[in-house]
Symmetry: C2
Subunit: 97 residues, 2 copies
Amino acid sequence: MKILITYDISGTDTTAGSRRLRRIAKVCQDYGERVQYSVFECTVSEATYELLEAELLAEMDEKEDNLRIYRLIEPVEKHIKEFGKFKATNFEDPLII
Amino acid sequence: MKILITYDISGTDTTAGSRRLRRIAKVCQDYGERVQYSVFECTVSEATYELLEAELLAEMDEKEDNLRIYRLIEPVEKHIKEFGKFKATNFEDPLII
């Protein structure tokens, strides 16, 4: 199944916050693709989903952050519209916004 | 139909960037709810969707930002999992991350 993971992290100007975002991104990228700074599309089986969820919960700070996981309609490309700058962002750079 | 709007904005430390985020949020909130800093769930008819898309495109900077709109499976609450801090964020505050 295809899922969309969106993540609101608190305090990415701190070492702890930026580390959480980096680690969450790494977990997600093991299962899919980063499509925005804190939005990831992942492909998982039901069983793999359980592992992914457990890994995400281990990395996030439940008191500070918010994590949402949506099941997507497939095929995803028929149910998404995208506009603007596409994948040109270097997600490895420090976040300066 | 239910849609999810995710938005990567460039340069929210600038007047132009923060204004774009504020305006995009205002457009989305006319049709739904802000669930994360740059993630919105909206309910629209097919006709209303066209209006919403036009309004979003008018506000965004296609050279700088990225906008993704996903059609969601309904009922949404059966196809989403949420973890962590929930809606405690004051989205009106300036973004400091």
